[in-house]
């Protein structure tokens, strides 16, 4: 059989039945497109998390005052606990050999005012090292320093969201704001960082020196959080062990009693998030994969209908010398052509949908070419597999009966 010649003729015959051909393709197009879109969105989420890991630094350990509670599968700290102190922070800095820097912090939601504008935001009091440890870059102005912390100076660094909310277009640096009733000088604005892994706006913040916050703003002797930077990301587990051992010793916790504090290793936390994003991608991807299978059924149905319609053509071809095998190959090739064209259109649809999703700001997306290739290969395979049965049926037609059929 002249394969190329027959394939060209098949193309022509399929193209002649435009509507039917397009309908049979629809399932595959949607299936492939859906796989690509879902994987792209999923990979976008993954990338976002990976970026966060990069931004935070992978050598960050966070101690929280409250013991860990597992809520909806995630670690949460609850209630106000007053047992963590700045002294714990100093002890960690001095006694844990793999710790590079320590920044204790407190946080409270407070009203911030400038002239007649006000906004409620998360006010964090933290040691000056916190800028370095938490990797908070400034867009303008300067961070506060350790001297200013010791002197309990009333200086503040604000996030861009806060700046926009209370200053509008006025330059914030040099202005005086009130946090609660206490006046503060704005000395810097942080660079835009966007949402964190939990969806909290990292730009809706005000940072003030820790001592200032504890003594002048909140009037509390305890702290909530200690940010710790390890000497390198490979020491991160070591740091976690050292800090845990030290804090347990300082609290005289005997063996077997649970921690009264929480240590979060930022890397593990984000890894977990990434795993979650991955399995979500996989889940959506498999659902889309099933729709691809349904697309294959579409091809099967259309092929069976087309064989019914083309019985006489099969009879004619048999009379003109086509062997059953030639008929089988022809219908398999047609199924593969349908699936292949559907696959290509699907890849294009997936690309378009991915781009559209990104443009609409629905999600960060990342086009996945391997996923596109797999979806395309899968579509073609499904098409061929679902083409086998119609092809066998066509090849088993008796030429005389087939020719006589109407």
């Amino acid at each position: 059989m002249h394969f190329a010649r027959n394939t060209r003729l098949s193309c022509r015959l399929l193209a002649a039945h435009k509507l039917r051909t397009l309908l049979s393709l629809a399932g595959v197009v949607v299936g492939v497109g859906a796989v690509i879109l879902s994987v792209s969105v999923g990979r976008g989420a993954e990338k976002r998390i990976l970026d966060l890991i990069g931004k935070l630094g992978t050598d960050l350990v966070i101690v929280n005052a409250a013991p860990a509670r597992l809520m909806i599968g995630r670690q949460r700290t609850v209630a106000t606990v007053t047992t963590l102190t700045a002294a714990d922070g100093r002890a960690i800095a001095e006694e844990c050999p793999h710790v590079l820097a320590v920044a204790p912090a407190v946080r409270k939601s407070l009203v911030v005012r400038w002239e007649s504008n006000n906004t409620t935001t998360a006010v964090t009091g933290m040691a000056a090292d916190g800028f370095l440890i938490r990797n908070i870059p400034l867009a303008s102005g300067r961070p506060f320093e350790a001297d200013e912390d010791r002197a309990r100076r009333r200086v503040a660094v604000i996030g861009p969201t806060v700046a926009k909310n209370i200053f509008g277009k006025v330059l914030p640096v040099g202005q005086q704001i009130r946090i609660g009733r206490v006046p503060f000088d704005v000395i810097g604005v942080t660079r835009r960082r966007g949402l964190d892994a939990n969806g909290t706006d990292q730009d809706d913040i005000v940072l003030v020196p820790l001592e200032t916050a504890m003594r002048r703003l909140l009037n509390i002797p305890y702290i909530e959080t200690i940010y710790i930077r390890a000497r390198g990301s490979r020491w991160i587990d070591q740091v976690e062990r050292e800090v845990r051992a030290l804090l347990r010793e300082r609290r005289r916790l005997t063996e077997g009693r649970p921690d009264t504090f929480t240590i979060q290793n930022q890397m593990t936390l984000l890894k977990t998030e990434r795993e979650a994003a991955r399995s979500m991608t996989l889940l959506i991807g498999s659902v889309a994969g099933i729709s691809l299978l349904v697309g294959g059924v579409g091809i099967l149905a259309v092929m069976l209908i087309s064989i019914r319609e083309r019985t006489r053509e099969v009879g004619l071809r048999r009379a003109l010398g086509a062997r059953p095998r030639d008929i089988r190959i022809q219908f398999l090739v047609e199924a593969a052509l349908l699936a292949g064209v559907g696959g290509i259109l699907g890849v294009m649809a997936g690309l378009g949908a991915t781009r559209a999703a990104a443009v609409l700001g629905f999600r960060e997306t990342l086009m996945s070419w391997p996923a596109a290739a797999i979806a395309f290969a899968f579509a073609t395979t499904v098409g061929i597999i679902f083409g086998i049965y119609p092809a066998l049926r066509a090849s088993r037609l008796e030429p005389i009966q087939a020719l006589k059929s109407e």
């Binding site: 059989m1 002249h2 010649r5 027959n6 003729l9 022509r12 015959l13 002649a16 039945h17 006489r312 053509e313 009879g315 004619l316 071809r317 048999r318 009379a319 003109l320 010398g321 086509a322 062997r323 059953p324 030639d326 030429p399 005389i400 020719l403």
Partner: protein, 245 residues
């Protein structure tokens, strides 16, 4: 070339056996133009299917070009149909969605050998006088032209024999004559033809007449003074070449 000896064909439906061919013997030599005539139910279509390798006899011998067709497998029969037989059907059986040239090329898909299929198909179309209409779809051709495309398709593989089953059955008289004129010209050029018909006027264009009656050969004689289709066309009231659009 065609040797048929004591050929029988029975159809079995449940316990009822119907004898359609009851022992037929004849031979067709190269270059003959034979008409097989009979009323419906005489077994002529069954005989045609067997001659064309589309069906197998129940008993007897059928040899085409020395090959025992009763013993040939499906693969061999397909090959023989492709290379040695050219079918012309009553209903033309053209692919609606393919133009005349593509239709004529269809058997070449299953043929050996390379070379331009399009060139061979164009030559075959020229033989039936349709070279100018190669790009037309069947729907754009008249019935007579469609049948001529069918003849071109039968000729494109350069077969040993042309088998025509009621080739004029779906055509008006004038278009029928045009088809018969082509057959007579092919016969003069040395082609072998077997034509099945129920119409004596059509059969009389051949050079030999085999009459089937009730599954047996009732008559087998040469036609001494065959009708001449071209003459009839010349004498046609509207004049030659004025067939329906």
């Amino acid at each position: 070339m065609i040797e048929v000896e004591n050929l029988t064909k029975n159809y079995t439906k449940g316990s009822i056996v119907t004898e359609v061919l009851k022992g037929i013997s004849f031979r067709v030599d190269k270059g003959e133009f034979v008409a097989i005539m009979g009323s419906s139910g005489a077994g002529k279509t069954t005989l045609m299917n067997i001659l064309g390798g589309l069906d197998k006899p129940t008993g007897g011998v059928y040899r085409l070009d020395g090959v025992d067709m009763a013993r040939a497998g499906e693969e061999d029969l397909s090959r023989i149909r492709n290379r040695k037989i050219g079918f012309v059907f009553q209903q033309f059986y053209l692919l609606d969605r393919a133009d005349a040239l593509k239709n004529v090329m269809l058997p070449l898909i299953y043929a050996d050998g390379n070379g331009s299929g399009a060139a061979r198909a164009e030559k075959a179309l020229a033989t039936v006088g349709l070279a100018a209409r190669k790009g037309h779809l069947p729907a754009e051709l008249s019935g007579g032209e469609q049948q001529r495309v069918g003849i071109a398709r039968a000729l494109v593989t350069d077969p040993l024999i042309l088998l025509a089953d009621e080739p004029t059955g779906n055509l008006d008289a004038r278009n029928g004559l045009e088809v018969l004129a082509i057959f007579q010209r092919l016969h003069r050029e040395g082609r072998s033809l077997v034509m099945i018909t129920h119409d004596l006027a059509v059969a009389e264009h051949a050079r030999r007449l085999i009459v089937l009656r009730d599954g047996r050969i009732a008559d087998d004689r040469p036609i001494l003074r065959p009708r001449d289709a071209e003459t009839a066309l010349r004498l046609w009231p509207d004049g030659p070449g004025a067939g329906p659009g």
